[in-house]
Symmetry: C2
Subunit: 733 residues, 2 copies
């Protein structure tokens, strides 16, 4: 699926994007227009055998209405399906934009060289038998890479199912997905790392009424990868919704940047990340070489950018329909609900709350107006339950209620579920006028899967309709989340500001742990102070007479070889005075020696005892996502409750603050149970500074743990620190 290259070598590339520089300018942007809409396609390995890989696309391209030219290539035939057949790709006429390759793997590198010779810009390689086929295939894959290098040819695949352009009838590949002749057309594009599952998704979505414009199955993505397609789709004027089925990406940082771009251009990326669970990651690893970065980091990327996570075809259908509907994005998360059944109102309320939406009460004006429209004993609240009440003149009570609720200044969106709206096309159409007048998104839930004329009317007018209220709520939440992220992103467009001047960081050569004291010096250079902490050499301990610290103190052996001091017995707590410090120092050094006789011990660290709530601030230079900073509650909360959150470094203090505020246990930091309110500003400052440290030193730093920091009101005590280095060469796989 993806190449075997790790992506540490992208760390340098990231540095540019980190600084806030746009990744690609319009000039250098990858243009896949001819790949999706070729003037002519040459099919290498063409045949008229109906079930052969080279036979299926021949049939689709000649029978479904593709208007371009098709040149079959097969040395054994002179004509094929009434077309002139060419002995070699070198013989086909000029003007070919895409070569579809359906020959045995061993011939593929040569075909690429022929594409290059003929200046053909794109090859789509269906052939399997590369790295997925063991050592021999691996060699072939290397040969293919050599053929590609400098060829000027961009390749999709190998081992893919091909590409689809619905409106131009380019069914350029094989399999049940491309055999479907009449897909609904819509301004939606999908790229899928799994051809088989991706087209299952497309077909199910199609049957539920969703339309597509482009679909790309990318197979091993030896050249063009999932992010290339996402980027192209984001920049394509004919695409409004981008979607992707993804098991893993090589370049997490580019995923983050594309998420930002999605917010800028206002197009959502509907993404299904498969391989979320341990079992799913294991399954993915067994059949692809995708890097299994932690799902938590993918989630962080999705949350920051214009991604909408989905995990079945219904989500695709409902969320894409909502984004394609006419009108503006919602200005907030407040939903008004109008329903014709009490039960539906309860379900709608459940689903809205589960999806993170708000159901504020109606304004007094709205209540007053509704009282004029509804029967005496209808339930006037949010939801408004019109109680199935019918009017004598045949007008729709639900539409009249909807008109009032959408005008309520306390509502950002409207969900309507009433057969008085959906069982009549005229009333359904009137709902579009109500939406237009109200200027807010409207989601219409059907009473049941029927009322085809009303659905058609809603489609015609670009009103988002949904099979159930649950799905309407999911769609509304997706729109509101995207809109909120977009507003935030557009407001905070500037590059992240540093806001402080770091000192010089000295890092030893080579990979491995740094001692606690050296780790603290690194932190200190970035303004993360180790107050109440001193380093003493053995000589200094010997002649110790006074100590400028508040007793009791902790005494720890300081060694580059003993990163986990507790398990080595290399730490003493609650040491009461100078004499005890001397004894404790001797003890911890002896324990460390006993634990690891060859350990290099650089004196001891003496530190004032601290208490309070434990928090963790950490940084990891992830192989896929680059420098990442994490914040979480420490101790049992981290390990049992996994209450941590991530951001891509560097971040400013405001973002660090939002990390602190979003963990589940956040209220423990805000003066819970009479404890002092933590100095969240100072804590955010540490998180932001650490994020700059790992970003600036990404070439050398593997990870940093500040675990724990004791938080006691305004007093923050760094109780331990550990920097882990990598060799500079580790970055080059």
């Amino acid at each position: 699926m993806s190449s075997n290259l790790t992506c540490r070598d992208r760390v340098q590339v990231m540095s540019a994007s980190i600084a806030g520089v746009a990744r690609s300018s319009a000039a250098s942007r990858l243009d896949l227009t001819k790949l999706f809409a070729p003037r002519a396609i040459a099919v290498v390995g063409a045949t008229d055998a109906a079930n052969a890989i080279g036979g299926m696309p021949m049939r689709y391209l000649t029978e479904f209405g593709y208007a371009g030219k098709v040149y079959p290539v097969n040395p054994k035939r002179e004509t094929l399906m009434g077309l002139t057949c060419y002995a070699s790709l070198l013989d086909v006429p000029a003007g070919v934009d895409v070569v579809l390759v359906a020959v045995a793997a061993k011939f593929v590198p040569d075909i690429i060289r022929q594409c290059s010779a003929k200046n053909i810009p794109f090859a789509v390689v269906l052939s399997a038998g590369f790295h997925e086929a063991g050592p021999e295939g691996q060699l072939l894959e290397e040969d293919l890479l050599r053929a590609l290098k400098g060829s000027g040819v961009r390749m999709v695949g190998p081992n893919c199912l091909g590409l689809l352009n619905v409106s131009e009838k380019v069914h350029n590949g094989f399999g049940a997905g491309l055999a479907e002749k009449n897909y609904h057309q819509g301004p939606v594009a999908m790229v899928t790392q799994s051809g088989g599952y991706g087209f299952t998704l497309i077909k199910n979505a199609h049957r539920a009424g969703a339309g597509f414009q482009y679909v790309a199955s990318i197979g091993n993505s030896l050249d063009l990868n999932v992010l290339d397609f996402i980027e192209y789709f984001l920049e394509s004027p004919d695409i409004k919704v981008v979607s992707a089925f993804v098991e893993g990406v090589d370049d997490g940082r580019r995923l983050v940047e594309l998420g930002k771009r999605a917010l800028e251009v206002g197009k959502p990326i509907l993404i299904w990340k498969a391989g979320k669970t341990a079992a799913g990651q294991k399954a993915a690893a067994s059949h692809t070489a995708s890097l299994a970065a932690s799902y938590a980091l993918y989630q962080a990327a999705f949350r920051e950018g214009g991604y909408v996570e989905v995990d079945d075809f219904e989500d695709f259908v409902d969320i894409s329909r909502a984004f394609l509907a006419s009108g503006k994005l919602p200005e907030g998360k407040r939903v008004g609900i109008v329903t014709g059944s009490g039960g539906a109102g309860v379900v709608a309320s459940d689903r809205c709350e589960e999806a993170g939406l708000e159901l504020p009460p109606l304004s007094q004006t709205s209540v007053y107006q509704l009282e004029g429209v509804l029967p005496e004993f209808a339930a006037i609240g949010n939801p408004v339950d019109i109680s199935g009440q019918r009017t004598k003149d045949g007008s729709s009570v639900s539409n009249r209620a909807a008109e009032i609720v959408i005008a309520d200044p306390g509502m950002d969106m409207l969900i309507v579920r009433s057969r008085q709206t959906t069982s009549s096309p005229a009333h359904a159409e009137a709902m579009a006028d109500i939406r237009d007048k109200g200027g807010k998104p409207v989601f219409v839930a059907m009473g049941a899967d029927e009322d085809y004329d009303s659905k058609a009317a809603l489609d015609r007018r670009g009103v988002s309709w949904h099979l159930t209220v649950g799905r309407a709520a999911v769609a509304a939440a997706a729109l509101a989340d995207f809109a909120e992220k977009r507003r935030k992103h557009l407001d905070a467009k500037d590059p992240v500001r540093r806001g402080f001047e770091p000192g010089k960081v000295e890092l030893p050569l080579g990979a491995g742990f740094m001692s606690e004291w050296d780790s603290r010096k690194v932190l200190d250079a970035y303004g993360i102070a180790s107050s109440g902490t001193k380093h003493l050499s053995r000589a200094e301990v010997a002649k110790l007479a006074a100590l400028d610290l508040k007793f009791p103190v902790a005494v720890k052996a300081n060694s580059v070889n003993i990163p986990h001091k507790s398990e080595a017995g290399a730490i003493r707590l609650d040491v009461a005075d100078i004499a005890a410090v001397k004894m404790a120092a001797a003890d911890v050094i002896a324990s460390a020696r006993h634990y690891k006789p060859a350990a290099e011990i650089d004196g001891v660290i003496v530190q004032e005892m601290a208490s309070g709530l434990e928090v963790i601030v950490g940084a990891v230079n992830d192989a896929c996502f680059g420098p990442v900073v994490l914040f979480g509650l420490g101790g049992v909360f981290a390990e049992v409750m996994k209450d941590v959150t991530y951001r891509f470094a560097p971040i400013d203090k405001a973002t660090a603050r939002s990390m602190i505020e979003e963990i589940r246990g956040a209220k423990l930091l805000s003066g819970y149970r009479g404890q002092a309110k933590a100095d969240l500003d100072a804590l955010a400052d540490i998180v932001s500074r650490l994020s700059w440290l790992v970003a600036d030193q990404a070439e050398r730093i593997d990870s940093i743990d500040i675990n724990p920091i004791f938080v006691n009101g305004s007093r923050l005590s760094v109780a331990d620190a550990l920097v882990v280095l990598r060799d500079k060469s580790d970055g080059q796989a």
Copy 2:
């Protein structure tokens, strides 16, 4: 929807079921056979106006194929739709089993009296205008209740949509749900508290291929309620799957008992509990009088019994199909997966893990056998990815792989998703043979929503098929959960054993708090000891010279009027010696007086200081679910993380132990981070004893809090205790 009665008066009834006595014998069991399959139906308020409430059922009953007799009742007509029309219900011939009532609310009580006069056993009242219609309707409802009392008539409704019997074409009600003529038939029954939403559900499920036998919309359920129908369906031989759309029940304990009965008879109850969230509960309260017991207690009832929680129609469709499939329930949660696409394997793995299923590795034998069947570079693991490899002889590789995997002794179930199984009816049918030979449940996921002939073949042979692998996993998990609960229930069929002899409990008259010391005496009678704790009167404090406790101690004012001592300043911690105890006692009494001048203060409690992990053990006598015991982590874990679990009292020690082990933070109790392992047996003993206390004293106890208990290895210290009493008369609403 439900009556306005609270259900505290059911506490006594519960006591019987608590003791393990079966609630109802076969003799007293409610028989609704004639309600669903009447020989004759009288329609009171019959008309031929097509859209009138009394007109719709006339059409359905005369046009859809109902074989019984229909007697329209309408004084203004002599014939109706070619049938003799009667002026009064009193005039209709004998043999009527059900009267369908579609007249104005004010006439309904009289109709019930007429039913009684004619010995008609059932009335289905469609008419609205009762308690949902304000004070006047409330009076009418009371009138209706009086008419019912002693009438011998059982009533469905009022304010319901009616009943459906699919095979006998009894469409006995009105609305779009009953207007559908040709529902698929299947041994599934549903009762719904929301007619509108319930029939939406039915119609969506029908369109997805699900069949039903009975549907009951129960409206206000003034007489027959949701639990009556569940009970009837459980005992009906023609029903294999029971389902319910429920907003709330009056008698939570009966819900629990029906869950046990479901396990005994081996029929699942698929239940959609609407009103789970705060917003949903609020919406439910606005349109019904359902008691809003905490969703957590419903979940506890569902978890203990044969319930399967669902929350959209797709769940109904997939889970009912799985239960209706031929073959045995699974013996465990271990799933083998065979797939034709790597991506589908990843998705299937994610979904299985999310659903709580296990994907163990294949046995060596299975791997060896698969190597003989699959191409060299197929991924042989779990999932098995057959890589789309086709055989030359047209046989199905996925079926051959399935045969091997189902025989693996490490697997309890099989999920297959491959078009080599589903695109050919013959291969689909062969899968049934594989299932039969393997003797384990098989779930077939479709490649896409097509292959109609294969679906028909699978249906014919009773193999569970699903639109996506995700849904197959949900269905497999539902089956495995039900099977596990069933095994456990059948193994532990005996009544709960007490295992100890309680002492005498003295409770003062009247409702309200008990003082901490009196609360501790109540606990002590049930063997929950207050070690290291003493009560001292003010006189005893004055002459205190020695104290048989380990210092330091805590000193607290003991008062029936000050249940929350901290906020009253009525507690001093870390008191070091006798002199300090005397001072502290004076302090806390003064603080208590200052806080509440009229407080009755009964000396002080002196208690050894304790530390350790805080846990909460509590009991509540819930208005709907009766006596309930809870266990959870205390302090911040309870309040911030809401890490608590519930059971219905009484429970034995083994069940209490399973509560302790199922909370998220359970590992904090098992020697986490070098702390002493908690004495879980002793803790479980406390939980079980408290459950007996609240069950035995259900008439008087409103709630008990033991919060916190400090757990420090084998030392358990009850740090505070609070019993809250109710008046005996509180039990009678």
